[in-house]
C-alpha cells in the first residue's frame, strides 16, 4: 500500500517543478508564495493522480492531528447524542475531525482512551460529564491536552466550559407547581456522588425554601442511577413514607417517566391524582402519555458552545478561562395540573 501512495515527488515530476514547490502549494499557509498558474497546475495534477496527504507524517512534524475528542459517559442516555451533534457541527465546519468516545464512566477505559488519543496527537478533548474529580481531567492536564467541560462540577475552576444554571431551572419549576396550587411537594434527586446531581438537588431545595415550601426528609428520595426503574422505586418509597403529596419534582426526566408508569400500575393517574415534573427535556417527554412538563436544556447549543470554546482554546491556549452560563427553559405539558381538593 505504501509504495502505491502518490508522493509530492510524483506530482513534482509530472508538473516539472521542485517537490518543495508542490509542498508549498499543498499547504494553505504557504500557497501564496507560488504563482497562481503553478498553484492551479499542481492542485489539478494532485487531484488527477489521487494524491492524499499523509497526516501521520504531518502530525509528527506539527504536533497536531486536527482531531478533537468528545467524551460522553453513556451514549445510550438520550441526553448526550444531541449535545454531541451540536459539538460536531461546529468542529466539522472549522475543519476538525470529531472523534467520539463512550467512557461508561470507567476509569480504566478513560485512561486508555486518553493514552491512545494522545499518541495520535489529539488537539483537545470535550468532556461531557458530571463526575466530581473526573480522572479524565487529570490525565489531560498531565498530557497537556486542552479540555472543555460541560459542568462546573468537574475539577477546579480553572477549566473553561459550561455552567448550568440549575437554580434558574428549579426556581421556574417550583413556581409553576406553586402557581397551580401545590404545597405538598416531594423531590426525587440523582446520585449525590455526581457533582451535577448534587448541585441540582441543592438548587431544588433552595427553590422550595425560597417559595416557603417546607420539605421533610421522608419526602426526599435519592436514585442511584438515571433509569426509569430508579424513578419507579423512588415513587414507591415516597408513597409509603408520605402518601399526602400532590406533586413530585424530579431532577431527571427518567425519574418522571418511571414515577408516572408506577403510578398507573398502582391505579392512579397523572396529573389527575398527582403532578410529576421532569428535568433535561429528552425527546421522549414530548411523546409519552401524558406529555411531561420538564425543564429543557438547550442540548444542541450546549454542544456548539463547548466546541466553540475549544476552538478559542486551540487558537489562543493562554486565553482567559470562559465559563458560559447555560439557562434552561420551562416547558409546560400535561403532567402537571392543579391538585384535586380531597
Amino acid at each position: 500500500m505504501g509504495s502505491e501512495r502518490v508522493t509530492l515527488k510524483d506530482i513534482a515530476e509530472k508538473v516539472g517543478v521542485h517537490p518543495s514547490t508542490v509542498s508549498r502549494v499543498l499547504n494553505p499557509a504557504t500557497r501564496a508564495m507560488v504563482s497562481p498558474e503553478v498553484v492551479e497546475e499542481v492542485t489539478e495534477t494532485a487531484r488527477a493522480l489521487g494524491y492524499r496527504p499523509n497526516p501521520l507524517a504531518r502530525s509528527l512534524k506539527t504536533q497536531s492531528s486536527g482531531i478533537v475528542g468528545i467524551f460522553v459517559p453513556d451514549l445510550t442516555n438520550p441526553l448526550f447524542p444531541e449535545i454531541v451533534r451540536g459539538a460536531e457541527t461546529v468542529l466539522v465546519e472549522a475543519g476538525y475531525t470529531p472523534v467520539l468516545a463512550n467512557t461508561k464512566n470507567d476509569r480504566d477505559r478513560k485512561l486508555m482512551l486518553v493514552d491512545h488519543l494522545k499518541q495520535r496527537l489529539i488537539d483537545g478533548i470535550i468532556v461531557v460529564s458530571g463526575l466530581r474529580d473526573d480522572p479524565l481531567i487529570e490525565a489531560c492536564r498531565q498530557n497537556e491536552i486542552p479540555v472543555i467541560v460541560s459542568d462546573r462540577g468537574i475539577g477546579a475552576g480553572d477549566i473553561p466550559g459550561l455552567q448550568m444554571d440549575d437554580d434558574f431551572g428549579m426556581r421556574a419549576m417550583v413556581s409553576h407547581l406553586q402557581d397551580l396550587g401545590h404545597r405538598e411537594i416531594a423531590l426525587v434527586s440523582g446520585p449525590q456522588r455526581l457533582a451535577t446531581s448534587e448541585s441540582r438537588h441543592r438548587a431544588a431545595l433552595g427553590a422550595l425554601a425560597q417559595r416557603g415550601i417546607a420539605i421533610s426528609e421522608e419526602r426526599i428520595a435519592f436514585c442511584e442511577d438515571f433509569s426509569p426503574e430508579a424513578g419507579r422505586q423512588a415513587f414507591r418509597t415516597l408513597m409509603e413514607g408520605s402518601p399526602n403529596i400532590t406533586a413530585i419534582l424530579t431532577a431527571n426526566d427518567q425519574y418522571a417517566i418511571g414515577a408516572i408508569a408506577e403510578m398507573y400500575e398502582m391505579g392512579m393517574t397523572c396529573p389527575g391524582d398527582m403532578s410529576v415534573t421532569g428535568y433535561n427535556g429528552i425527546r421522549h417527554t414530548r411523546w409519552l402519555k401524558p406529555p411531561i412538563t420538564t425543564i429543557e436544556l438547550p442540548k444542541r447549543q450546549m454542544g456548539m458552545k463547548m466546541a466553540s470554546l475549544m476552538l478559542d482554546r486551540l487558537a489562543s491556549p493562554a486565553g482567559k478561562i470562559e465559563r458560559a452560563v447555560i439557562r434552561p427553559t420551562l416547558v409546560v405539558r400535561q403532567s402537571t395540573a392543579s391538585p384535586l381538593r380531597k
Binding site: P81, N102, M112, L113, D115, H116, L121, I257, H284
Partner: protein
Amino acid sequence: MNNRRGHVTLKDIAAVVGVHTSTVSRVLNPSRRTMVSSEIAEKIVAVAEELGYRPNPLAYGLKTNRTGSIGVVVPDIANPVFPETVQGIEDVLIDAGYMPILSNSEHKAEREMHIVENMRAQHVDGLIIASGSPHVAVLMACKEDGIPLVLIHRTWDDPEISAVSYDDSLGARLMIEHLASLGHRDIAYIAGPLDSSGGRDRYFGTKEAAKACNIEIDDRLFAFADANTEEEGERCCRELIFNGKKFTALVTAHDSLAAGCVGVLAENGLSVPEDISLTGYSDTSYAAMLTPALTSIRVPYYEGGAEAARLLIDRLQNPDAPVRRIRISPELVVRQSSARKAPPGEPR
C-alpha cells in the same frame, strides 16, 4: 528520562539497562525478540515497564502500517439502535486491545466519505461501517486500499465484504403473524424510509407476510415516513385516519413512529389496544415507557455490534480469513399494546 510531553523513549530504556537502543527496539518488537538473550530481554522489558514506556503508535504506524485503532462510522447516534450497536463493538474491540475511533455521519454521504477518507489517512487498521444506505464510493475506496472492512446494519450485495445484518423480513413476518393470530384482518402500516435496507426489507416483508396470511392489501392502509421519528409517525397516522379506510391494527416500522401515533389515536377517540392494536419495531427504550407498553420486535443490536467486531478482528489477525456474512434473527416481544380484535357488533 522525560522529554517533551513525558514520553519515555527507547533511548531512555537503553541508558538505564546499559545496552544499545537497537537492542531495546529488538526486544520490544515481539517478532524479533528471539534475537536477544533472554536475560537481557527480561531486564529490558522490566525496565520499560518500570519507566512506563509506551510505543508511539504514530511513529510505529509509519513503519508497520499498524496503529491498533479501528474506525467505526455510524449514521445517527440519536437513533437509539446505534448507541447499542456501538457498545457491542467497543466492548469486543477494547477487550482485544484495539481502540475504536467513532464518528457520526448524520446520514450524509459527503460526510461519510470525508470521515472514511480521514480515517484511512489516520491509518486505522480496519473499519466497521454501520449505515442504512450504502455509499458505493466509500466501499469501493476501502476495497481498493485493501483495508479490512465489516459492514453492519446495511445489506450490500458484494460477496467480498464481510457483513452483519438483521433479518428484517422475518421480523416483519413475525409481527403480521402475531396480529393475524389475534384475529386482525384490517392492518395499516407505516413504513420507514425506503432508501434504507431496514425500511425496505420491513416494508416488503410486511406485504409478503400479509399476502401469505390472506390479508387484503389496500393502498389506503399504507403510509410512508421520511425518517424514523415521532413527528413522522404522527403525520403518517393522521394520513391513515384521513384516508378513511378502517383498520384494527397499526403496524409501524420503528418504535419512534409508534410513539408518534399514540397522541393522534387518542385525539380520535381510539384507545390502544381496545380499538387499535399498535406495534413498533426495534424494541427501544420507548417500548417499556409507553402506556400501554409497546409490542415490538427485539433486534439484538449489542450482539450484532459485538459480532461485527469479532469478524473484523478475525480478518486483522488472519488476512486470509474467509469473508463472512452473518444474518441475525430478531424476536417478537408481546406487550400490552396488541390484543385480540374486538368481536364484530361491539362498538369499535
